[in-house]
Amino acid sequence: MLRASLINIQLLAALIAVGYLVGTLVALLQVYGGRVLKAIANLYEWIFRSIPALVLLFLFYYGPPRFGLDISAFLAATLALGFRSSAYQSQIFRGAIECIPSGQMLAARSMGMSRLRAIFTVILPQAFRLSIPGWTNEFSSVIKDTTLAYAVGFNEIMRYARVIQDSRYELAMLAFIAVALVFLLLTGAGNALMGGVERRFRIPGLQMPGSGSGDHCR
């Protein structure tokens, strides 16, 4: 069962990575994109925040074969949950980007940086730090979503528990309690890790409002 939980961690890592990259892109388009790009990003965010995770999973797993595309349960789960997470992560990043005082961009531009270079050298490094607390929250939310992947036949921990339930009914409760314990541990460890990351990257004076003396989001 513990080995099965490793599969959940793999899925988590993959979907967070997808969500992180796509989420950053969506956030950038929402803040800096032109009208069309902004509309596309907003549409994307709306779609993936509205559809239940389970429905997305089914769409991604059973959809592609209809067009002759073979998709593994892992890939389907990674994409479905990853895109979903990217929609949430984009809002974390967008909030962080919008919290950065406009003077930062102005100063970067005044020294001859292009808009794109200013975004990458000045805005994003600050936005990433500001979004760590929100990201911790998102992490502890998606780690639990990984159990949904059992519904598309993915051999993760919840599926393992269901197999026990089917074969030895008297052990079912025990199995579910074990799953619960595994997630208590995983989430606890993850939060501790993220807390460490937050401290590691802490910079004096660079915080979200309400978490100290930062004067952002005026």
Partner: protein
Amino acid sequence: MDRLLRVEDIHKRYGKEEVLKGVTFEMLKGETKVVIGPSGTGKSTLLRCINRLTPADQGRVWLEDEEITHTRTNINKIRAQIGFVFQSFNLFSHLPALGNVRIAPMKVKGMKREEATRLAMEELGRVGLGDKADAYPAELSGGQQQRVSIARALAMSPKLILFDEPTSALDPELIGEVLEVMVNLAKEGMTMLVVTHEMGFARAVADEIIFMEHGVIVEHGSPSDMFARPKHARTGEFLNKISELYGETD
């Protein structure tokens, strides 16, 4: 001396209000000019129109022979040659003083990290902050932050530095250290265009004072002429009031 900057008939309108109504002046290499005037007369807008942080509606600006306002001019190349010091410093909050000073030479000029670091340490020393290289902006006083931002501008070896009320956001006891740095720069021959209310600074180093009101230049001249015999009653009035307010003595 060579002409460095020419500003010609700059107009800028925000909605209904025209904040700049045709401003024209020139700067020679090594000159320090101080722009004064009541708030809301377009002084800061004028500075921003020069490096196109704010696009002018009408009029032209040249840096030496290159027309800044021309649509085909690579504005990033121009801005790399014009330092800008903000009232609110705008140091990059995620970088320590050293990082703030070396980032533009590295990212804009493509200077190597070691070289940029050496240069940045030199510039920080020049503004008296060699020992604060590792401090983040939030760990520095306002005066120190503004000096770092001057070092940041200097690191690009600019042909001209624009100062937008560099001491207006500072506690009174911190103004002196920033002005001292600016006075030294002026004496070293840096070309500076300074919007400020610091008459002591204007008297000490300005080659010319430009008095602006309601979007136009009312009068300009040497500090001694402007203070002793202003041509317009309004200029004298303003100078008296501002000297009183800012306790001008030098």
